[in-house]
Symmetry: C2
Protein backbone atom coordinates (compact mmCIF):
# COMPACT_ATOMS: atom_id res chain seq x y z
CA UNK A 1 0.00 0.00 0.00
CA UNK A 2 3.07 2.26 0.18
CA UNK A 3 2.80 3.34 -3.45
CA UNK A 4 -0.89 4.17 -3.13
CA UNK A 5 -1.26 6.46 -0.14
CA UNK A 6 -4.79 7.21 0.99
CA UNK A 7 -6.37 10.44 -0.21
CA UNK A 8 -8.81 11.81 2.37
CA UNK A 9 -11.37 14.36 1.32
CA UNK A 10 -13.38 16.40 3.80
CA UNK A 11 -16.99 17.14 2.79
CA UNK A 12 -17.48 19.84 5.34
CA UNK A 13 -21.00 21.20 4.99
CA UNK A 14 -23.04 20.00 1.98
CA UNK A 15 -26.62 21.19 2.64
CA UNK A 16 -26.88 19.91 6.21
CA UNK A 17 -28.23 22.30 8.84
CA UNK A 18 -26.23 23.07 11.96
CA UNK A 19 -28.58 21.49 14.50
CA UNK A 20 -26.91 20.22 17.66
CA UNK A 21 -23.36 20.52 16.36
CA UNK A 22 -21.94 24.07 16.22
CA UNK A 23 -18.99 22.85 14.13
CA UNK A 24 -21.02 22.55 10.93
CA UNK A 25 -19.60 25.50 8.97
CA UNK A 26 -21.76 28.06 7.17
CA UNK A 27 -19.72 31.23 6.66
CA UNK A 28 -16.55 31.56 4.59
CA UNK A 29 -14.60 32.04 7.79
CA UNK A 30 -16.08 28.89 9.34
CA UNK A 31 -15.38 26.85 6.22
CA UNK A 32 -11.78 28.07 6.16
CA UNK A 33 -11.42 27.14 9.83
CA UNK A 34 -12.71 23.61 9.12
CA UNK A 35 -10.44 23.40 6.06
CA UNK A 36 -7.43 24.22 8.19
CA UNK A 37 -8.37 21.72 10.91
CA UNK A 38 -9.01 19.02 8.31
CA UNK A 39 -5.74 19.77 6.54
CA UNK A 40 -3.82 19.58 9.80
CA UNK A 41 -5.52 16.26 10.59
CA UNK A 42 -4.50 14.71 7.25
CA UNK A 43 -7.03 15.67 4.57
CA UNK A 44 -5.78 16.29 1.05
CA UNK A 45 -8.97 17.62 -0.52
CA UNK A 46 -11.97 19.71 0.47
CA UNK A 47 -15.52 19.86 -0.85
CA UNK A 48 -17.91 22.58 0.28
CA UNK A 49 -21.13 24.37 -0.56
CA UNK A 50 -21.64 28.13 -0.33
CA UNK A 51 -24.05 28.91 2.54
CA UNK A 52 -25.57 32.01 4.04
CA UNK A 53 -23.46 32.83 7.11
CA UNK A 54 -26.48 33.24 9.38
CA UNK A 55 -29.29 31.05 8.07
CA UNK A 56 -27.23 28.35 6.36
CA UNK A 57 -29.37 28.67 3.22
CA UNK A 58 -27.68 27.91 -0.10
CA UNK A 59 -25.68 30.87 -1.41
CA UNK A 60 -24.01 30.14 -4.67
CA UNK A 61 -22.71 33.62 -5.43
CA UNK A 62 -19.39 33.98 -7.18
CA UNK A 63 -18.15 36.44 -4.58
CA UNK A 64 -18.77 34.05 -1.71
CA UNK A 65 -16.90 31.26 -3.52
CA UNK A 66 -14.05 33.66 -4.28
CA UNK A 67 -13.80 34.75 -0.64
CA UNK A 68 -13.98 31.20 0.71
CA UNK A 69 -11.50 29.89 -1.82
CA UNK A 70 -9.02 32.68 -1.15
CA UNK A 71 -9.26 31.86 2.55
CA UNK A 72 -8.64 28.13 2.01
CA UNK A 73 -5.70 28.88 -0.31
CA UNK A 74 -4.16 31.25 2.23
CA UNK A 75 -4.45 28.70 5.05
CA UNK A 76 -3.71 25.36 3.33
CA UNK A 77 -2.56 23.63 0.15
CA UNK A 78 -5.71 21.44 0.04
CA UNK A 79 -7.08 20.34 -3.32
CA UNK A 80 -10.22 22.43 -3.70
CA UNK A 81 -13.46 21.05 -5.13
CA UNK A 82 -16.57 23.18 -4.58
CA UNK A 83 -20.06 22.03 -5.48
CA UNK A 84 -21.49 22.88 -8.87
CA UNK A 85 -24.34 24.64 -7.20
CA UNK A 86 -27.77 23.50 -6.30
CA UNK A 87 -30.55 21.59 -7.91
CA UNK A 88 -32.69 24.66 -7.42
CA UNK A 89 -30.48 26.54 -9.83
CA UNK A 90 -31.58 26.52 -13.40
CA UNK A 91 -29.43 26.00 -16.41
CA UNK A 92 -25.89 24.91 -17.08
CA UNK A 93 -24.30 28.36 -17.04
CA UNK A 94 -25.77 29.14 -13.64
CA UNK A 95 -24.31 25.94 -12.20
CA UNK A 96 -20.79 26.60 -13.50
CA UNK A 97 -20.62 30.37 -13.10
CA UNK A 98 -18.24 30.40 -10.10
CA UNK A 99 -15.90 27.94 -11.82
CA UNK A 100 -15.89 30.05 -14.96
CA UNK A 101 -15.44 33.32 -13.05
CA UNK A 102 -12.25 32.17 -11.30
CA UNK A 103 -10.78 30.07 -14.10
CA UNK A 104 -8.28 32.66 -15.33
CA UNK A 105 -6.64 33.29 -11.97
CA UNK A 106 -3.82 30.72 -11.52
CA UNK A 107 -4.08 30.76 -7.72
CA UNK A 108 -7.84 31.11 -7.40
CA UNK A 109 -9.05 28.71 -10.08
CA UNK A 110 -10.58 25.62 -8.46
CA UNK A 111 -8.52 22.44 -8.60
CA UNK A 112 -11.47 20.19 -9.36
CA UNK A 113 -15.23 20.03 -9.78
CA UNK A 114 -17.64 17.11 -9.26
CA UNK A 115 -20.01 16.06 -12.04
CA UNK A 116 -22.98 13.76 -11.36
CA UNK A 117 -23.72 11.30 -14.18
CA UNK A 118 -27.43 10.68 -13.87
CA UNK A 119 -30.84 11.28 -12.36
CA UNK A 120 -32.44 9.80 -9.27
CA UNK A 121 -35.07 10.32 -6.57
CA UNK A 122 -33.54 12.11 -3.60
CA UNK A 123 -36.20 12.52 -0.93
CA UNK A 124 -35.30 11.95 2.70
CA UNK A 125 -36.78 8.86 4.35
CA UNK A 126 -38.29 9.57 7.78
CA UNK A 127 -38.50 6.14 9.42
CA UNK A 128 -40.47 7.29 12.49
CA UNK A 129 -43.11 8.94 10.33
CA UNK A 130 -42.84 6.28 7.61
CA UNK A 131 -42.84 8.75 4.77
CA UNK A 132 -40.56 10.40 2.22
CA UNK A 133 -39.94 14.13 2.50
CA UNK A 134 -40.82 16.00 0.28
CA UNK A 135 -41.95 13.03 -1.84
CA UNK A 136 -41.43 14.52 -5.27
CA UNK A 137 -37.71 15.20 -5.10
CA UNK A 138 -36.12 14.09 -8.36
CA UNK A 139 -32.54 15.17 -9.04
CA UNK A 140 -32.64 15.50 -12.81
CA UNK A 141 -29.42 15.51 -14.81
CA UNK A 142 -30.32 14.88 -18.43
CA UNK A 143 -27.64 13.50 -20.66
CA UNK A 144 -27.68 16.66 -22.73
CA UNK A 145 -27.11 18.74 -19.60
CA UNK A 146 -24.25 16.49 -18.52
CA UNK A 147 -22.70 16.91 -21.97
CA UNK A 148 -23.02 20.69 -21.74
CA UNK A 149 -21.45 20.83 -18.26
CA UNK A 150 -18.57 18.62 -19.39
CA UNK A 151 -18.08 20.82 -22.44
CA UNK A 152 -17.58 23.86 -20.20
CA UNK A 153 -14.99 22.11 -18.03
CA UNK A 154 -13.14 20.83 -21.07
CA UNK A 155 -12.99 24.40 -22.37
CA UNK A 156 -11.75 25.64 -18.96
CA UNK A 157 -9.35 22.68 -18.58
CA UNK A 158 -10.80 21.93 -15.15
CA UNK A 159 -10.16 18.57 -13.46
CA UNK A 160 -13.48 16.69 -13.24
CA UNK A 161 -14.26 14.04 -10.65
CA UNK A 162 -16.73 11.44 -11.91
CA UNK A 163 -19.55 11.15 -9.38
CA UNK A 164 -21.60 7.96 -9.71
CA UNK A 165 -24.57 7.02 -7.54
CA UNK A 166 -24.88 3.58 -9.09
CA UNK A 167 -23.27 1.27 -11.62
CA UNK A 168 -25.34 2.65 -14.49
CA UNK A 169 -23.83 6.08 -13.94
CA UNK A 170 -20.34 4.61 -14.30
CA UNK A 171 -21.38 3.06 -17.60
CA UNK A 172 -22.86 6.41 -18.63
CA UNK A 173 -19.63 8.23 -17.77
CA UNK A 174 -17.68 5.81 -19.97
CA UNK A 175 -19.96 6.73 -22.88
CA UNK A 176 -18.98 10.39 -22.35
CA UNK A 177 -15.35 9.33 -22.61
CA UNK A 178 -16.08 7.85 -26.00
CA UNK A 179 -17.70 11.16 -26.91
CA UNK A 180 -14.45 12.89 -25.94
CA UNK A 181 -16.23 14.92 -23.25
CA UNK A 182 -15.39 13.11 -20.02
CA UNK A 183 -11.76 13.09 -18.92
CA UNK A 184 -9.71 9.89 -18.83
CA UNK A 185 -7.73 11.39 -15.96
CA UNK A 186 -10.24 11.52 -13.16
CA UNK A 187 -11.12 10.47 -9.65
CA UNK A 188 -14.18 8.19 -9.55
CA UNK A 189 -16.46 9.14 -6.67
CA UNK A 190 -18.82 6.37 -5.57
CA UNK A 191 -21.83 7.79 -3.76
CA UNK A 192 -23.18 5.41 -1.17
CA UNK A 193 -26.14 6.54 0.89
CA UNK A 194 -27.32 5.90 4.43
CA UNK A 195 -30.77 4.82 5.55
CA UNK A 196 -32.16 8.35 5.43
CA UNK A 197 -31.34 8.57 1.70
CA UNK A 198 -32.16 5.22 0.08
CA UNK A 199 -31.31 6.61 -3.35
CA UNK A 200 -28.16 4.73 -4.06
CA UNK A 201 -26.15 1.60 -3.47
CA UNK A 202 -26.38 0.04 -0.02
CA UNK A 203 -23.39 0.26 2.25
CA UNK A 204 -21.95 -3.18 1.83
CA UNK A 205 -19.02 -4.86 0.10
CA UNK A 206 -21.21 -6.30 -2.66
CA UNK A 207 -22.31 -2.88 -3.86
CA UNK A 208 -18.73 -1.65 -3.61
CA UNK A 209 -17.45 -4.61 -5.63
CA UNK A 210 -20.06 -3.87 -8.29
CA UNK A 211 -18.80 -0.30 -8.60
CA UNK A 212 -15.12 -1.29 -8.66
CA UNK A 213 -15.80 -3.95 -11.32
CA UNK A 214 -17.20 -1.38 -13.70
CA UNK A 215 -14.43 1.27 -13.72
CA UNK A 216 -11.35 0.80 -15.88
CA UNK A 217 -8.73 -1.17 -13.89
CA UNK A 218 -6.20 0.90 -12.03
CA UNK A 219 -8.07 4.20 -12.02
CA UNK A 220 -8.40 5.95 -8.64
CA UNK A 221 -11.71 5.80 -6.80
CA UNK A 222 -13.08 7.28 -3.64
CA UNK A 223 -16.25 6.65 -1.69
CA UNK A 224 -18.57 8.67 0.51
CA UNK A 225 -21.81 7.98 2.38
CA UNK A 226 -24.48 10.62 1.97
CA UNK A 227 -26.86 10.50 4.91
CA UNK A 228 -24.92 7.81 6.74
CA UNK A 229 -21.76 6.80 8.57
CA UNK A 230 -18.94 6.22 6.08
CA UNK A 231 -16.46 4.64 8.49
CA UNK A 232 -17.28 0.93 7.89
CA UNK A 233 -17.12 1.57 4.13
CA UNK A 234 -13.96 3.61 4.67
CA UNK A 235 -12.27 0.54 6.14
CA UNK A 236 -13.18 -1.42 3.00
CA UNK A 237 -11.88 1.38 0.77
CA UNK A 238 -8.60 1.60 2.67
CA UNK A 239 -8.03 -2.15 2.37
CA UNK A 240 -9.18 -2.37 -1.27
CA UNK A 241 -7.02 0.53 -2.49
CA UNK A 242 -9.67 3.24 -2.74
CA UNK A 243 -9.83 6.68 -1.20
CA UNK A 244 -12.20 8.13 1.39
CA UNK A 245 -14.43 11.16 1.73
CA UNK A 246 -15.90 12.06 5.12
CA UNK A 247 -17.55 15.05 6.72
CA UNK A 248 -20.32 16.66 8.72
CA UNK A 249 -21.98 17.61 5.45
CA UNK A 250 -22.95 13.96 4.94
CA UNK A 251 -23.63 12.72 8.47
CA UNK A 252 -23.64 14.17 12.00
CA UNK A 253 -21.41 11.49 13.57
CA UNK A 254 -23.16 12.19 16.88
CA UNK A 255 -21.70 8.96 18.23
CA UNK A 256 -18.50 11.00 18.61
CA UNK A 257 -20.34 13.86 20.38
CA UNK A 258 -20.14 17.12 18.44
CA UNK A 259 -17.03 16.48 16.34
CA UNK A 260 -15.61 19.05 13.97
CA UNK A 261 -14.61 17.96 10.49
CA UNK A 262 -10.95 17.70 11.46
CA UNK A 263 -11.78 15.05 14.08
CA UNK A 264 -13.57 12.99 11.45
CA UNK A 265 -10.53 13.18 9.19
CA UNK A 266 -8.39 12.13 12.14
CA UNK A 267 -10.58 9.01 12.62
CA UNK A 268 -9.82 8.01 9.03
CA UNK A 269 -6.12 8.69 9.51
CA UNK A 270 -6.10 6.45 12.60
CA UNK A 271 -7.95 3.76 10.70
CA UNK A 272 -5.42 3.92 7.85
CA UNK A 273 -2.57 3.75 10.34
CA UNK A 274 -4.09 0.67 11.97
CA UNK A 275 -4.66 -0.96 8.59
CA UNK A 276 -1.17 -0.15 7.35
CA UNK A 277 -1.86 2.41 4.66
CA UNK A 278 -0.01 5.74 4.53
CA UNK A 279 -1.95 8.96 4.06
CA UNK A 280 -1.32 11.25 1.08
CA UNK A 281 -0.42 14.90 1.55
CA UNK A 282 -2.22 17.33 -0.77
CA UNK A 283 0.89 17.49 -2.99
CA UNK A 284 1.12 13.69 -3.16
CA UNK A 285 -2.60 13.49 -3.91
CA UNK A 286 -2.20 15.91 -6.82
CA UNK A 287 0.54 13.72 -8.21
CA UNK A 288 -1.49 10.54 -7.73
CA UNK A 289 -4.47 12.06 -9.54
CA UNK A 290 -2.40 13.44 -12.41
CA UNK A 291 -3.21 17.04 -11.42
CA UNK A 292 -0.81 19.95 -11.88
CA UNK A 293 0.99 21.20 -8.77
CA UNK A 294 -0.51 24.19 -6.97
CA UNK A 295 1.11 27.38 -8.28
CA UNK A 296 3.08 29.22 -5.59
CA UNK A 297 1.39 32.16 -3.86
CA UNK B 1 -32.60 -27.06 -6.90
CA UNK B 2 -35.57 -29.43 -7.04
CA UNK B 3 -37.63 -27.41 -4.57
CA UNK B 4 -37.00 -24.16 -6.41
CA UNK B 5 -37.92 -24.76 -10.04
CA UNK B 6 -37.01 -22.02 -12.49
CA UNK B 7 -39.72 -19.52 -13.42
CA UNK B 8 -39.24 -18.27 -16.96
CA UNK B 9 -40.98 -15.09 -18.06
CA UNK B 10 -41.27 -14.06 -21.69
CA UNK B 11 -41.06 -10.31 -22.37
CA UNK B 12 -42.41 -10.51 -25.84
CA UNK B 13 -42.54 -7.03 -27.31
CA UNK B 14 -41.79 -4.11 -24.93
CA UNK B 15 -41.41 -1.06 -27.19
CA UNK B 16 -39.02 -2.61 -29.70
CA UNK B 17 -39.80 -2.15 -33.40
CA UNK B 18 -40.15 -5.14 -35.69
CA UNK B 19 -37.12 -4.47 -37.89
CA UNK B 20 -35.51 -7.54 -39.41
CA UNK B 21 -37.41 -10.05 -37.29
CA UNK B 22 -41.07 -10.63 -38.26
CA UNK B 23 -41.68 -12.52 -35.02
CA UNK B 24 -41.77 -9.37 -32.87
CA UNK B 25 -45.49 -9.26 -32.05
CA UNK B 26 -47.62 -6.11 -32.40
CA UNK B 27 -51.28 -7.15 -32.68
CA UNK B 28 -53.31 -8.97 -30.05
CA UNK B 29 -53.33 -12.03 -32.31
CA UNK B 30 -49.54 -11.94 -32.70
CA UNK B 31 -49.02 -11.53 -28.96
CA UNK B 32 -51.31 -14.49 -28.25
CA UNK B 33 -49.41 -16.58 -30.80
CA UNK B 34 -46.11 -15.74 -29.08
CA UNK B 35 -47.69 -16.44 -25.70
CA UNK B 36 -48.71 -19.88 -26.85
CA UNK B 37 -45.30 -20.66 -28.33
CA UNK B 38 -43.58 -19.44 -25.18
CA UNK B 39 -45.92 -21.42 -22.95
CA UNK B 40 -45.31 -24.57 -24.95
CA UNK B 41 -41.56 -24.01 -24.73
CA UNK B 42 -41.66 -23.72 -20.93
CA UNK B 43 -42.53 -20.14 -19.94
CA UNK B 44 -44.66 -19.58 -16.84
CA UNK B 45 -45.26 -15.85 -17.16
CA UNK B 46 -45.76 -13.28 -19.89
CA UNK B 47 -45.14 -9.54 -20.01
CA UNK B 48 -46.35 -7.45 -22.94
CA UNK B 49 -47.13 -3.93 -24.10
CA UNK B 50 -50.20 -2.91 -26.10
CA UNK B 51 -49.13 -1.93 -29.63
CA UNK B 52 -50.84 -0.72 -32.76
CA UNK B 53 -51.26 -3.77 -35.00
CA UNK B 54 -49.85 -2.04 -38.07
CA UNK B 55 -47.41 0.64 -36.93
CA UNK B 56 -46.31 -0.89 -33.65
CA UNK B 57 -46.89 2.42 -31.88
CA UNK B 58 -47.88 2.26 -28.18
CA UNK B 59 -51.59 1.58 -27.75
CA UNK B 60 -52.59 1.41 -24.15
CA UNK B 61 -56.36 1.22 -24.62
CA UNK B 62 -58.36 -0.89 -22.22
CA UNK B 63 -60.11 -2.69 -25.07
CA UNK B 64 -56.84 -3.82 -26.62
CA UNK B 65 -55.61 -5.16 -23.26
CA UNK B 66 -58.94 -6.92 -22.75
CA UNK B 67 -58.78 -8.55 -26.19
CA UNK B 68 -55.15 -9.61 -25.82
CA UNK B 69 -55.66 -10.91 -22.30
CA UNK B 70 -58.74 -12.91 -23.27
CA UNK B 71 -56.71 -14.48 -26.08
CA UNK B 72 -53.80 -15.42 -23.80
CA UNK B 73 -56.22 -16.86 -21.22
CA UNK B 74 -58.00 -18.94 -23.87
CA UNK B 75 -54.72 -20.35 -25.22
CA UNK B 76 -52.59 -20.82 -22.06
CA UNK B 77 -52.50 -20.74 -18.26
CA UNK B 78 -49.56 -18.31 -18.25
CA UNK B 79 -49.23 -15.82 -15.40
CA UNK B 80 -50.13 -12.51 -17.03
CA UNK B 81 -48.31 -9.27 -16.29
CA UNK B 82 -48.95 -6.40 -18.72
CA UNK B 83 -47.06 -3.14 -18.61
CA UNK B 84 -48.43 -0.23 -16.62
CA UNK B 85 -48.46 1.88 -19.73
CA UNK B 86 -46.01 4.33 -21.09
CA UNK B 87 -43.92 7.15 -19.83
CA UNK B 88 -45.77 9.32 -22.32
CA UNK B 89 -48.96 8.75 -20.38
CA UNK B 90 -49.75 11.28 -17.74
CA UNK B 91 -51.01 10.62 -14.28
CA UNK B 92 -51.44 7.62 -12.09
CA UNK B 93 -55.01 6.76 -13.12
CA UNK B 94 -54.09 6.71 -16.77
CA UNK B 95 -51.28 4.24 -16.09
CA UNK B 96 -53.48 1.82 -14.14
CA UNK B 97 -56.72 2.15 -16.08
CA UNK B 98 -56.58 -1.25 -17.82
CA UNK B 99 -55.76 -2.98 -14.55
CA UNK B 100 -58.66 -1.26 -12.83
CA UNK B 101 -61.06 -1.92 -15.71
CA UNK B 102 -60.55 -5.70 -15.63
CA UNK B 103 -60.13 -6.14 -11.87
CA UNK B 104 -63.67 -7.35 -11.17
CA UNK B 105 -63.65 -10.16 -13.72
CA UNK B 106 -62.18 -13.28 -12.02
CA UNK B 107 -60.87 -14.72 -15.31
CA UNK B 108 -59.80 -11.49 -16.96
CA UNK B 109 -58.16 -9.67 -14.07
CA UNK B 110 -54.39 -9.56 -14.56
CA UNK B 111 -52.34 -11.87 -12.38
CA UNK B 112 -49.61 -9.33 -11.72
CA UNK B 113 -48.34 -5.86 -12.55
CA UNK B 114 -44.79 -4.47 -12.48
CA UNK B 115 -43.98 -1.34 -10.48
CA UNK B 116 -40.71 0.57 -11.01
CA UNK B 117 -39.23 2.03 -7.82
CA UNK B 118 -37.31 5.04 -9.04
CA UNK B 119 -36.21 7.50 -11.68
CA UNK B 120 -33.34 7.31 -14.14
CA UNK B 121 -32.02 8.53 -17.49
CA UNK B 122 -33.13 6.20 -20.25
CA UNK B 123 -31.72 7.43 -23.54
CA UNK B 124 -30.31 4.96 -26.03
CA UNK B 125 -26.54 5.00 -26.54
CA UNK B 126 -25.54 4.96 -30.20
CA UNK B 127 -21.89 3.82 -30.16
CA UNK B 128 -21.23 4.39 -33.88
CA UNK B 129 -22.50 7.97 -33.67
CA UNK B 130 -21.14 8.46 -30.15
CA UNK B 131 -24.26 10.13 -28.84
CA UNK B 132 -27.32 9.56 -26.69
CA UNK B 133 -30.74 9.53 -28.36
CA UNK B 134 -32.81 11.59 -27.62
CA UNK B 135 -30.52 13.01 -24.91
CA UNK B 136 -33.14 14.33 -22.52
CA UNK B 137 -34.94 11.06 -21.72
CA UNK B 138 -35.58 10.91 -17.99
CA UNK B 139 -37.95 8.23 -16.72
CA UNK B 140 -39.44 10.03 -13.73
CA UNK B 141 -41.21 8.07 -11.01
CA UNK B 142 -41.54 10.35 -8.00
CA UNK B 143 -41.98 8.72 -4.64
CA UNK B 144 -45.44 10.22 -4.32
CA UNK B 145 -46.44 8.69 -7.67
CA UNK B 146 -45.06 5.31 -6.64
CA UNK B 147 -47.10 5.53 -3.43
CA UNK B 148 -50.24 6.37 -5.40
CA UNK B 149 -49.75 3.48 -7.86
CA UNK B 150 -49.14 1.06 -5.00
CA UNK B 151 -52.26 2.34 -3.25
CA UNK B 152 -54.36 1.46 -6.28
CA UNK B 153 -52.98 -2.08 -6.48
CA UNK B 154 -53.47 -2.59 -2.78
CA UNK B 155 -57.08 -1.56 -3.20
CA UNK B 156 -57.49 -3.93 -6.18
CA UNK B 157 -55.57 -6.73 -4.41
CA UNK B 158 -53.28 -7.06 -7.43
CA UNK B 159 -49.97 -8.96 -7.16
CA UNK B 160 -47.14 -6.46 -7.61
CA UNK B 161 -43.67 -7.36 -8.86
CA UNK B 162 -40.97 -5.09 -7.48
CA UNK B 163 -38.92 -3.76 -10.38
CA UNK B 164 -35.53 -2.36 -9.40
CA UNK B 165 -32.96 -0.85 -11.76
CA UNK B 166 -30.36 -0.52 -9.06
CA UNK B 167 -29.70 -1.24 -5.41
CA UNK B 168 -31.15 2.09 -4.29
CA UNK B 169 -34.51 1.12 -5.76
CA UNK B 170 -34.52 -2.05 -3.66
CA UNK B 171 -33.88 0.03 -0.57
CA UNK B 172 -36.67 2.38 -1.66
CA UNK B 173 -39.08 -0.53 -2.13
CA UNK B 174 -38.34 -1.71 1.41
CA UNK B 175 -39.34 1.75 2.70
CA UNK B 176 -42.72 1.28 0.97
CA UNK B 177 -43.10 -1.98 2.85
CA UNK B 178 -42.66 -0.11 6.09
CA UNK B 179 -45.34 2.28 4.87
CA UNK B 180 -47.64 -0.71 4.35
CA UNK B 181 -47.94 0.05 0.64
CA UNK B 182 -45.56 -2.43 -1.00
CA UNK B 183 -46.40 -6.13 -0.70
CA UNK B 184 -44.26 -8.52 1.31
CA UNK B 185 -45.29 -11.26 -1.10
CA UNK B 186 -43.64 -10.26 -4.34
CA UNK B 187 -41.25 -11.19 -7.10
CA UNK B 188 -38.19 -8.94 -7.19
CA UNK B 189 -37.29 -8.02 -10.76
CA UNK B 190 -33.70 -6.89 -11.24
CA UNK B 191 -33.35 -4.80 -14.37
CA UNK B 192 -29.94 -5.16 -15.93
CA UNK B 193 -29.24 -3.25 -19.12
CA UNK B 194 -27.11 -3.87 -22.18
CA UNK B 195 -24.62 -1.52 -23.79
CA UNK B 196 -27.31 0.37 -25.70
CA UNK B 197 -29.01 1.32 -22.40
CA UNK B 198 -26.31 2.18 -19.87
CA UNK B 199 -28.96 3.17 -17.32
CA UNK B 200 -28.60 0.38 -14.87
CA UNK B 201 -26.31 -2.17 -13.30
CA UNK B 202 -23.72 -3.77 -15.56
CA UNK B 203 -24.19 -7.36 -16.59
CA UNK B 204 -21.78 -9.06 -14.24
CA UNK B 205 -21.86 -11.18 -11.11
CA UNK B 206 -20.76 -8.30 -8.90
CA UNK B 207 -23.80 -6.20 -9.76
CA UNK B 208 -26.01 -9.25 -9.33
CA UNK B 209 -24.51 -10.01 -5.91
CA UNK B 210 -25.15 -6.41 -4.88
CA UNK B 211 -28.83 -6.77 -5.77
CA UNK B 212 -29.22 -10.16 -4.07
CA UNK B 213 -27.52 -8.87 -0.91
CA UNK B 214 -30.11 -6.13 -0.50
CA UNK B 215 -33.38 -8.08 -0.74
CA UNK B 216 -34.72 -9.95 2.29
CA UNK B 217 -33.22 -13.46 2.36
CA UNK B 218 -35.28 -16.16 0.72
CA UNK B 219 -37.55 -13.93 -1.36
CA UNK B 220 -37.86 -14.82 -5.06
CA UNK B 221 -35.99 -12.74 -7.62
CA UNK B 222 -35.78 -12.65 -11.36
CA UNK B 223 -33.53 -10.83 -13.77
CA UNK B 224 -33.81 -9.37 -17.25
CA UNK B 225 -31.48 -7.48 -19.58
CA UNK B 226 -33.05 -4.47 -21.28
CA UNK B 227 -31.16 -3.69 -24.46
CA UNK B 228 -28.85 -6.68 -24.18
CA UNK B 229 -28.42 -10.45 -24.23
CA UNK B 230 -29.67 -11.93 -20.96
CA UNK B 231 -28.33 -15.46 -21.46
CA UNK B 232 -24.98 -15.10 -19.61
CA UNK B 233 -26.83 -13.49 -16.68
CA UNK B 234 -29.53 -16.17 -16.99
CA UNK B 235 -26.91 -18.82 -16.32
CA UNK B 236 -25.90 -17.00 -13.14
CA UNK B 237 -29.55 -16.67 -12.06
CA UNK B 238 -30.22 -20.36 -12.67
CA UNK B 239 -27.22 -21.38 -10.59
CA UNK B 240 -27.83 -18.82 -7.83
CA UNK B 241 -31.51 -19.68 -7.38
CA UNK B 242 -33.09 -16.78 -9.22
CA UNK B 243 -35.56 -16.71 -12.08
CA UNK B 244 -35.19 -15.49 -15.65
CA UNK B 245 -36.99 -13.14 -18.00
CA UNK B 246 -36.16 -13.16 -21.72
CA UNK B 247 -37.72 -11.91 -24.92
CA UNK B 248 -37.53 -10.05 -28.19
CA UNK B 249 -38.91 -7.00 -26.42
CA UNK B 250 -35.54 -6.54 -24.72
CA UNK B 251 -33.04 -7.71 -27.34
CA UNK B 252 -33.14 -9.00 -30.93
CA UNK B 253 -31.01 -12.13 -30.34
CA UNK B 254 -29.95 -11.89 -33.99
CA UNK B 255 -27.14 -14.34 -33.23
CA UNK B 256 -29.91 -16.97 -33.40
CA UNK B 257 -31.22 -15.62 -36.74
CA UNK B 258 -34.80 -14.39 -36.46
CA UNK B 259 -35.98 -16.33 -33.40
CA UNK B 260 -39.50 -16.10 -32.09
CA UNK B 261 -40.03 -15.64 -28.38
CA UNK B 262 -40.71 -19.34 -27.86
CA UNK B 263 -37.25 -20.21 -29.17
CA UNK B 264 -35.70 -17.85 -26.65
CA UNK B 265 -37.63 -19.50 -23.84
CA UNK B 266 -36.43 -22.85 -25.14
CA UNK B 267 -32.81 -21.70 -24.91
CA UNK B 268 -33.35 -20.96 -21.21
CA UNK B 269 -35.05 -24.31 -20.69
CA UNK B 270 -32.06 -26.07 -22.29
CA UNK B 271 -29.69 -24.06 -20.12
CA UNK B 272 -31.63 -25.04 -16.98
CA UNK B 273 -31.61 -28.66 -18.06
CA UNK B 274 -27.85 -28.56 -18.57
CA UNK B 275 -27.32 -26.87 -15.22
CA UNK B 276 -29.63 -29.29 -13.39
CA UNK B 277 -32.56 -27.04 -12.47
CA UNK B 278 -36.16 -28.05 -13.22
CA UNK B 279 -38.50 -25.56 -14.88
CA UNK B 280 -41.72 -24.42 -13.19
CA UNK B 281 -45.08 -24.79 -14.88
CA UNK B 282 -47.38 -21.74 -14.60
CA UNK B 283 -49.31 -23.50 -11.79
CA UNK B 284 -46.08 -24.28 -9.91
CA UNK B 285 -44.90 -20.70 -10.42
CA UNK B 286 -48.14 -19.36 -8.92
CA UNK B 287 -47.58 -21.52 -5.89
CA UNK B 288 -43.92 -20.52 -5.57
CA UNK B 289 -44.87 -16.84 -5.71
CA UNK B 290 -47.73 -17.16 -3.24
CA UNK B 291 -50.30 -16.25 -5.89
CA UNK B 292 -53.83 -17.66 -5.99
CA UNK B 293 -54.52 -20.39 -8.55
CA UNK B 294 -56.05 -19.34 -11.87
CA UNK B 295 -59.84 -19.64 -11.64
CA UNK B 296 -61.25 -22.25 -14.06
CA UNK B 297 -62.67 -21.02 -17.34
Amino acid sequence: MQDNPLIIEVRCNESTMRGANPHLPYSAEEIVREAERSHDAGAAMIHWHGRDAVTGAPDNSVELYRETHAGIRAATDLITKPTLGYISQSGVEDRVKHVRALADDPRLRFDAVPVDFGSMNIDTWLPAEKRFEPGDGVYVNTRNDIAAVLGVFRELDTFVTTVCWDVGQIRTALCYREMGLAPTTTLWEFVFTGDSRPSSAGTNVHALNAMIAEIPPGEPWQLMCYGGDVLPLAALAIVLGGHVSIGLGDHDYARFGTPHNGELVERVVQLADTLGRPVASPAQARELLGMPALPPA
